[in-house]
């Protein structure tokens, strides 16, 4: 299966948050701590993306620690897909 688009990744991110009764803001600059998107939520998102593309997206933790905003999450997943 082909890579997901940024919009599709964003939809999946919204689903992860919705499952916790939270809403993903439309602003890519939104702070992850303020919206309650934690590192395990990022893992869940990455695993959902893996399910969609049929491939594993393994990665080390340091890159994860640099993620602070919604846009960073989308950037990171996009980079993982194209790596």
């Amino acid at each position: 299966m082909s890579e997901l688009t940024r919009a599709q990744i964003r939809d999946l991110m919204g689903e992860v948050m919705k499952a916790q009764g939270k809403t993903l803001p439309s602003d890519d600059g939104a702070d992850l701590r303020e919206i309650g998107f934690r590192s395990l939520d990022f893992s869940e998102l990455a695993l959902r993306v893996e399910d969609e593309i049929g491939d594993e997206l393994n990665f080390d933790a340091p890159g994860l620690r640099q993620i602070a905003k919604v846009g960073d999450v989308l950037d990171f997943i996009e980079q993982l897909q194209s790596a």
Binding site: S43, L57, A61
Partner: protein, 248 residues
């Protein structure tokens, strides 16, 4: 009843992963203590080469990957020919980890287990066979980690290997019946190297919770390993935690 015979101080010590950091600190310290030292690592650093050149009759070094079973065994035989029979082993070579378990590939997990658990067990087996065949007594120190006893994110496979080595330490001490003293040293997190896996926030938290108020330094581990290799202590089958009581 016969008198128990003591295990003498090690005279020829093999240090795996001895080219930098903690391993290199062990090598330097043992040289200073007058012990003959052999060290190998995947890459021999200029520091290690300089030691071999400065102390040609006391130090032997080589470029060997600990997972290369045949290479490691050939190095052991080289050491025996140059320095004499090995009666001390420091299993220090290891690879770290910095990834959540669900995002660590099966290949990465296998590599961590091979390098940190299988390879030192195989090397230990070989050194013990040589030691026992010559009727020698000896000492083994396994460098493990506080991760073997406490949980930290991003270190699942690594922790499993270190816990495995601690368990092997106890069983080997029993199995070898006092003829070879086998112990582990389990440092807490260092300010450098491996501790990069935790991030500054977690490191700050560990420091706050450490009664001695600082992360472990290599020079705090070195004398403990020296003691286990050279002193008469009757310590056997133990895991000595060196973390300023952060984990208690």
């Amino acid at each position: 009843m016969s008198e128990p015979t003591l295990v003498p101080p090690s005279k020829v010590v093999l240090v795996s992963g001895g080219s930098k950091g903690l391993g290199l600190a062990f090598v330097n310290d043992l040289i200073d203590a007058g012990v003959k030292v052999a060290a190998f690592a995947r890459t021999v650093t200029p520091e290690l080469t300089a030691l071999a050149e400065k102390y040609p009759d006391q130090v032997h070094v080589g470029s060997v990957d600990v997972t290369d079973e045949k290479g490691a065994q050939a190095f052991v035989k080289e050491v025996e020919a140059k320095l004499g029979p090995i009666d001390g082993l420091v299993n220090n070579a290891a690879v770290g980890q910095d990834s959540l378990h669900v995002h660590t590939s099966a290949e990465q997990i296998a590599n961590i287990i091979h390098t940190n658990l299988t390879a030192p067990l195989v090397l230990t087996r070989f050194v013990l066979r040589r030691m026992m065949a010559k009727g020698l007594k000896g000492r083994i120190v396994n460098v493990t980690s506080i991760c073997a006893q406490r949980g930290y994110p991003g270190l699942v496979a690594y922790s499993a290997t270190k816990g495995g080595m601690d368990s092997a330490t106890r069983s080997m001490a029993r199995e070898l019946g006092g003829r070879v003293l086998v112990n582990s040293v389990a440092p807490g997190f260092f300010a450098s190297d491996m501790s990069a896996v935790l991030g500054q926030t977690q490191l700050d938290q560990i420091v706050r919770r450490t009664p001695t108020g600082h992360l472990t330094e290599p020079e705090e581990v070195v004398p403990v390993v020296r003691m286990l290799l050279l002193e008469n202590t009757n310590i056997n089958g133990q895991v000595l935690v060196i973390d300023g009581a952060a984990s208690i």
